[in-house]
Symmetry: C2
Subunit: 432 residues, 2 copies
Amino acid sequence: MTNPSPAQINLKYLQQLDQQDPLAKKRDEFILPENTVYLDGNSLGAMPKVAAERSQHVLSQQWSQDLIKSWNSHGWIDLPAKVGEKIAQLTGAAAGQVICCDSTSVNLFKVLSSAMLLQQANNAERTVVLSQAGNFPTDLYMVEGLASLLGKQNCSLKLIDDSDNDLALEQAIADPELAAMTAVLMLTQVDFRSGRLLNMHRLTALAQAKGIIVIWDLAHSAGALPIALDACNVDFAVGCGYKYFNGGPGAPAFIYAAQRHHHKLLQPLTGWMGHKSPFTFDKHYQKAQGIEQFLTGTPAIISMSALDAALDVFNDVDMTLLRQKSLQLSNCFHQLVQQHECLQSLQLLTPANEAERGSQLAYQHEDAYALCQALIKQGVIADFRAPNILRLGFTPLYLRFIDMWTSVEVLADIVRSKEYIKAEYKLKHKVT
Amino acid sequence: MTNPSPAQINLKYLQQLDQQDPLAKKRDEFILPENTVYLDGNSLGAMPKVAAERSQHVLSQQWSQDLIKSWNSHGWIDLPAKVGEKIAQLTGAAAGQVICCDSTSVNLFKVLSSAMLLQQANNAERTVVLSQAGNFPTDLYMVEGLASLLGKQNCSLKLIDDSDNDLALEQAIADPELAAMTAVLMLTQVDFRSGRLLNMHRLTALAQAKGIIVIWDLAHSAGALPIALDACNVDFAVGCGYKYFNGGPGAPAFIYAAQRHHHKLLQPLTGWMGHKSPFTFDKHYQKAQGIEQFLTGTPAIISMSALDAALDVFNDVDMTLLRQKSLQLSNCFHQLVQQHECLQSLQLLTPANEAERGSQLAYQHEDAYALCQALIKQGVIADFRAPNILRLGFTPLYLRFIDMWTSVEVLADIVRSKEYIKAEYKLKHKVT
């Protein structure tokens, strides 16, 4: 997918890549801390200038001056759908299928419930939610929570270890006994620890062929790579606004529900914003016809407005180019790591194959926590995942190729000087 | 509760009240539009200066400069509990029982589910949620949604018309057959249309004596009057951050759960933030011990920070004085209305008795919508509720007594000139 690099790369080569980078100018659209290489945009995206400007307007004009009138005059009431449409365009969804609301966890509950109720209406025998043993914990917890309402006999979780590749998941789907019991396949497209990218198209098709409804969590993929929800015939998806979409801390999340399901769905968080006519104040709930049926309560306008503005940064971005740069950044980073003998103790957990990789690299190292702390102290903001993973996120909109050089040099310095071994870096602190 | 007014009141009298008002200075802590009397703080509170300043800091420093580190360094991770404690102090709850999260609707789902599961564990025969026919629709919708998961045979709604007084509710609770079937009494403390205030202490005690769990929605009371959740022995409550708490549009909501229930509860929106140790990334959900068990996903930090700051406006406010001013404002407004012959067509829907009144007045008028639109055009921001209610909210922190004079004069002018009858004010527009 990306052009091969020379056998040995150096700063000059990386500077050339920056000069040729069609996305290089996007960095100017962000406010970034000085003397920092931010490799944690997959936890919290950096702040786009437009997001700050919009927030300022929401405060100084919309809230403080126009007050309640802003629901119409500044389009607050339409914000969930408007933001949803922007996300739809970045995830391969036709109009009317994505809406912005709540948190990823709450949204998972909505689509999980919807899927289970759909299956119940068709075939009460399907009770299993099939997922990855290494899935982000909140995804698994939400199934446990739903089971407390549906009854454990009607909803249980079956976990597959998919850490190496998709094969174990494919085998589980191929198992006739398991497949017949399975109501939902719930997968996260990019593993939050390893950064392994699953084959959405193939896994969706295999599961649907067995009558299984498929939910994808796009937390670590939306905004980082091209996604084709419609083309993959996905049933439902959820995702996050504060990672690659740069919507701000705790930005609202989103839901995708394929149009073909809309008329027969019932999601149980039936708040007034999901009513077909919220302001008639009907006593009885009548769901909205379209994707608005997934709304619940009043949206957090200040946070959602920041996300709305942040998404405009993508207006002139070709997601194929973004993906190419993402892979090239991580390729360069890894090649630089390999060029340092002192860094050979870092074991790459992420698949080397580009087609199986998200927009992050994960290295195993027995002192990963201490290394991560030392990096942060030096201005290279990396992330740690227990028990021993150093995680580095590559966000092509605001990272430069020379940042790969800087960060690997800092890492090599730390390892060589053994600075990270200092007691203060040891894993006795609160893990964040 | 308030001192009696003279038989006839005038502008001078109101100016005197402003001079004597111990809360008069609080108005300076808000940024308000000029030439406006804002009588809709019960829909969206005005913007406190501290909320704007904090939001600015969250953007320009916390998000943009300190990025992911802010979860610890700026206390983002503790924000739901911190905001919860501030709300606890304003609602008569001891520490550790209130948490800020999600929307009121989502929070209702959490406490409703918790209450139903508690009852299921004790007595499977109780399946009814008893509520007010005039309750805010989202409260009723959430019960319908929960029923879709629990099964309608296990969860149904019984509505009582309580528009006149508490008697009908008391009779329903006294009905042995109904009481034996009732799992939950779910009431809104101040009716969103009429502004009628229910007797929390008495209704809670009556219901609990019959084994019913009691949930209060404080949307139209929290921040408007003294509330004594602990003293009333309430089981659960939810409420809103964007009305009298002035937390900004769509500010996060809150949950109160009495300490005595914490150890045995299970709320089904079991996201990672409600885990007893979110960052150990356990495969299995183990709920937090305290009120944190009601958290679900990642909080909307920008919106929640604005609310956190806004609550500090209450730091030096005596809620008894606030209540006194609230009643005095509405008394003056109503007396001024009565002093105008041209306003006799306005029928007060709100109880005249102060003890049964929230912080708003509702008038029925056949042209209520047109009147409301005409008022707004003249800078008096009122609210309309279908089919025929003109609703006026009194927010003692930023309203003056002379504002009562201004707004009633404007209203009288409109009615006298019949300006509101103009076609453009007729009820053909979108109702907001």
